[in-house]
């Protein structure tokens, strides 16, 4: 499983280019930072207060004034810009954070996303997730393709939405999918799986791009 998650994180890291300003959610999305190419400069948004997260702090560099949105003490890159919540989400809503990478409970074939609440369970709150999904030009979902065998990519979400028609790309251990006007298109398929495998693991009809490639690990 750890290997599969690393595969997903590594592949996701290839989505970014020099100068990008992006937001990485908590969990698997955070792992993406470890695989960003060293020859490009990507600035990571910490929605609680700055542009330019570096890494988790240790005793040698810990500053109690710098946490990430999960409450962990982190460090900031030298070019970091600190800001308040209004500015932070102004950048998000204004489309200046080019992409957000998030996990999902459910994604629908039209790009609807549900990843913040399960009715009847304890409520955590959306934090900044709704703003990120409504504001970022690209919402990239990274997740294991299914949850204990259950479909997560669906014809229609059953859970309350985080935002409608927001997901642009889905990266799982099985492949890379783009959400287009007419549905979900597989653009890369991992060599471990067949078209039939990925379709069987998906709750809506998949389209296979004529130029579909193999999902490469490195």
């Amino acid at each position: 499983m750890a290997d599969l998650k690393q595969r997903i994180a590594k592949r996701c890291a290839k989505e970014f280019k020099d100068g990008d300003f992006i937001n990485l959610g908590i969990g698997l999305p955070t792992m993406v930072a470890d695989y960003l190419p060293e020859d490009i400069m990507v600035t990571c948004h910490s929605e609680n207060g700055f542009a330019g997260i570096d890494t988790v702090a240790d005793a040698s560099n810990l500053d109690v004034d710098i946490i990430n949105s999960g409450g962990t003490y982190v460090t900031a890159v030298p070019r970091a810009k600190f800001f308040d919540t209004a500015e932070s989400f102004g950048l998000v809503r204004g489309g200046h954070v080019r992409a957000t990478v998030l996990g999902a409970m459910e994604v629908a074939e039209n790009g609807d996303l549900a990843n913040w609440i399960v009715p009847g369970k304890k409520v955590a709150g959306m934090g900044g997730a709704m703003d990120l999904c409504a504001g970022c030009p690209e919402v990239i979902i990274v997740m294991l393709h299914t949850q204990k065998g259950n479909h997560k990519i669906l014809k229609k979400c059953t859970l309350p939405l985080t935002a409608e028609k927001c997901v642009s790309k889905i990266i799982t251990e099985m492949g890379v999918m783009e959400v287009r006007e007419d549905g979900i298109w597989v653009v890369e398929l991992h060599p471990d799986y067949t078209k039939e495998d990925i379709q069987a693991a998906t709750g809506c009809e998949l389209h296979f791009d004529p130029d579909m490639k193999a999902m490469e690990e490195e």
Binding site: L62, D65, I66, Y73, V123
Partner: protein, 241 residues
Amino acid sequence: MINKIMTADEAVAGVKDGMTIMVGGFLATGSPEVLMDALVRKGVKHLTVIANDGGLDAGQPAGEFAGKTARGVGKLLENHMVDHLIASHIGVNPKINEQIAEGTLKYTLVPQGTLAEKIRAAAYGLGGVLTPTGVATPMETEPDELGRTKKVMEIEGKKYLFEMPLYADYAFIRPTVADKFGNFYCAKATKNFNYVMAGAAKHTVIAPEKIVEIGEIDPDYFAVAGVLVESIAEGEKRWQI
């Protein structure tokens, strides 16, 4: 000339049962601890609290670094002083879901960016906020913090939620540095809600980590104008982990 500097107890003396207060901070980083302590000592009840979250509970880690006591809004929750929490995230402090289950705490969730703009609209005299955040989600269908139905407006082909300004009786804010007039800034990631809340409440109270003389530091450091600040409480310390 007006002297704004006082003790934390003096600064919260006007807070009454049932009032609405705003508290700066994000998981307690940037929260005014001396003011929370003073509110606990005063023992006011039935507060409506507007904050990003419910702070931290005693013994709960902020990341990997444990605190021994509750922090920020967590102090008010620990002492059952809150009736209604208006926040973007309520999952970290376990007291929140406990008190919801007990039926003693009501909550209203507001997306983080929307929460900031609603507060800013109150501080800056705007009639409301038009945000794309929350369209087609429960934010659109559920009533707002005062039970009002929300409107959706279509503007140039895109849908926006119309959200109302969010006012309070008191705003409790934690600057890193303030001068004796009340001009202030918050270092690094402690800014969070501490800037927009100044001016959104009838009374703005700050508890700076450091109080400097007027003119002592370059005015271009300051983010918020001292004219908005009514009281400056002494005694706030840098957080020790």
